[in-house]
């Protein structure tokens, strides 16, 4: 069992509990256990695109430094990698890591702050999204071998969102034609439904004060998937999940009649297929309840 230093990110303990708990359970089954960093701080969710704002680079570098210390307490096989589940964390940590490795002036300035807390960053970490671990270290064939409950009948449209693939340096796959979620869904026995809006931005943080923008994005994304025969979406980011899930509920009340599509985290699909107890999915936190669909397809059996 290889253990990885795992960085949850602020949402994984609240709205996205299901994402985290299924991920940890699934990771244990696949011999790649996710172990949480004991004293992690928020990475900032978005990385600053300005050259001169050092304050906003402190948080992500501190995460890298704390993860490095955490790795020292794990076993020798643990690589110098911090693994994230949240796509926004993936992008932010990767970009800031790259920035400070190439611009030592920036690294020095940030380290001035971290020095007093005995947490300087020594440029010795890499950042990985859990999907990269699944694809590169474990392999989809291995995942398929562990499936006890193939997800027949689920027609999933993969929704990457922007942060898994943007910017170039943070992309975990080809920026315009990614395939990692498609391969994952197929290895779990479900059907893939392609959609041209697989990375049309969901609106992200505009949900706070300009939610009309999110409404129109969500409508486009869901319509494109529904038109092509999908009965569910799969995502890798808690903000995308909230935006698409919650706004569909709002829209359903405004435009009754159109059936909403439930939104799954990729680890929830894996949990269903690999036979992990159903309650770890925390479907009660979802705004569009996926249970009726699962019941209809006979997939809500949980642990066999």
């Amino acid at each position: 069992m290889v253990r990885y230093s795992y960085f949850p990110g602020c949402n994984l303990k609240t709205n996205a509990k299901g994402f985290e708990e299924t991920a940890i359970a699934v990771s244990k089954k696949l011999s790649a256990e996710l172990v949480e960093i004991p004293n992690w701080n928020c990475c900032g969710t978005v990385h600053t695109l300005s050259t001169d704002n050092m304050m906003r680079r402190i948080a992500p570098v501190r995460v890298l430094s704390r993860s490095r210390k955490h790795i020292d307490t794990l076993d020798e096989e643990t690589p110098n990698e911090v693994v994230t589940l949240c796509s926004m964390c993936n992008s932010t940590l990767k970009i800031v890591n790259d920035e400070v490795k190439h611009d030592h002036d920036k690294l020095e300035k940030v380290n001035y702050q971290l020095e007093e807390d005995d947490e300087i960053y020594k440029e010795d970490m890499e950042v990985k999204h859990f999907l990269e671990i699944l694809r590169d270290k474990i392999g989809f064939e291995n995942i398929a071998k562990n499936v006890v409950n193939p997800l027949k009948g689920l027609k999933i449209s993969p929704y990457y969102g922007c942060m898994l693939l943007h910017p170039d340096k943070a992309a975990i796959d080809d920026v315009e034609m990614p395939s990692v979620l498609e391969y994952l869904v197929e290895s779990l026995g479900a059907e893939v439904v392609d959609s041209p809006f697989f990375k049309l931005c969901c609106g992200s943080y505009q949900i706070v004060d300009e939610d009309r923008i999110v409404d129109s994005q969500v409508t486009k994304i869901v319509e494109a998937a529904r038109k092509r025969g999908a009965n569910a979406l799969v995502v890798a980011c808690p903000l995308c999940a909230y935006n698409i899930d919650h706004q569909q509920k709002i829209l359903k009340e405004k435009v009754p009649g159109k059936l909403p599509l439930p939104v799954f985290y990729f680890t929830q699909l894996m949990a269903l297929a690999l036979g992990v107890p159903l309650k770890l999915n925390h479907f009660e936190d979802h705004h569009i309840n996926p249970k009726p669909l699962l019941k209809e397809l006979g997939l809500s059996g949980g642990k066999k």
Binding site: P8, C10, K13, T14, W40, N41, G44, Q113, E116, D117
Partner: protein, 241 residues
């Protein structure tokens, strides 16, 4: 001996240090705390002094040392003076507390964000922890509050004396000690188990268990009370209770 002679005698014998209070220099005995040194120099502290025992958080002091650019902070009643200290007191930290009814809340991260949404601005810069006179990991408990980990936040912030130094230094303008108060109240009320002994005692009181004893006490004269207090030390007849 005249007053000035006594003072001279003291100054010749006790080691003295030079500190700067509100910009002007004063010679004070080296063994004094900052608070006593300020009073020795002739100032009367009206705000910025309280319990004098490191518990109330009133005497938050910010200082630099001569030749050192760094900012230091301490509780004046608990810290000894050093030569070259340049001192100022914080008589008040402007951080209005949010109004809430603790009985109507739930112990979640969203509750914290409702009343203190600025918590989402935390930059993880750690300026707060560095200035805390109680050595609390302030940034860590703010992060735990943001993450919705109420129990961890409550435990981490336990030693807080609400001096306000963290709030003054925070670039994201978060009132950390108010957030901590809300977190501890939520944890105490909704998550911690109430001690059985406390519940039992409250029931006893509400059942009128101690009424008779108190009524007896109230009827006593001042002399009888004095006698009871100094000589008997047993307010309620244990056999009757």
């Amino acid at each position: 001996m005249s007053k000035t002679q006594i003072k001279e005698k003291e100054e010749n014998e006790t080691p003295m240090v030079k500190v700067y209070i509100m910009g002007s220099s004063h010679e004070v005995p080296a063994s004094l705390t900052i608070m006593k040194a300020i009073e020795y120099a002739g100032f009367k502290i009206k705000r910025g002094a309280g319990c004098r025992a490191g518990f109330c958080g009133a005497c938050a002091t910010v200082y630099r040392k001569a030749g050192d650019y760094r900012i230091y902070a301490a509780l004046a009643c608990q810290t000894q003076v050093e030569d070259g200290m340049v001192l100022t007191q914080l008589p008040f930290v402007p951080a209005p507390k949010a109004k809430y009814d603790i009985n109507k809340l739930s112990p979640t991260g969203n509750t914290i964000l409702q009343f203190y949404p600025e918590v989402a601005r935390c930059l993880s810069c750690n300026a707060c922890s560095k200035v805390c006179p109680q050595d609390i990991h302030v940034m860590d408990y703010v992060q735990y509050s943001l993450q919705g980990q109420i129990k961890k936040a409550a435990e981490e912030s336990f030693d807080c004396v609400q001096c306000g130094l963290c709030t003054i230094r925070c670039p994201a303008e978060i009132p950390q000690y108010h957030v901590a108060t809300l977190v501890r109240r939520l944890h105490g009320k909704y998550e911690m188990k109430s001690p059985d002994t406390l519940e039992a005692r409250v029931e006893e009181i509400e059942a009128g268990f101690y009424e008779e004893g108190f009524n007896e006490l109230m009827k006593l004269s001042k002399d009888e009370l004095r006698h009871k207090y100094f000589h008997e030390r047993d307010f309620i007849d244990q056999k009757k209770a």
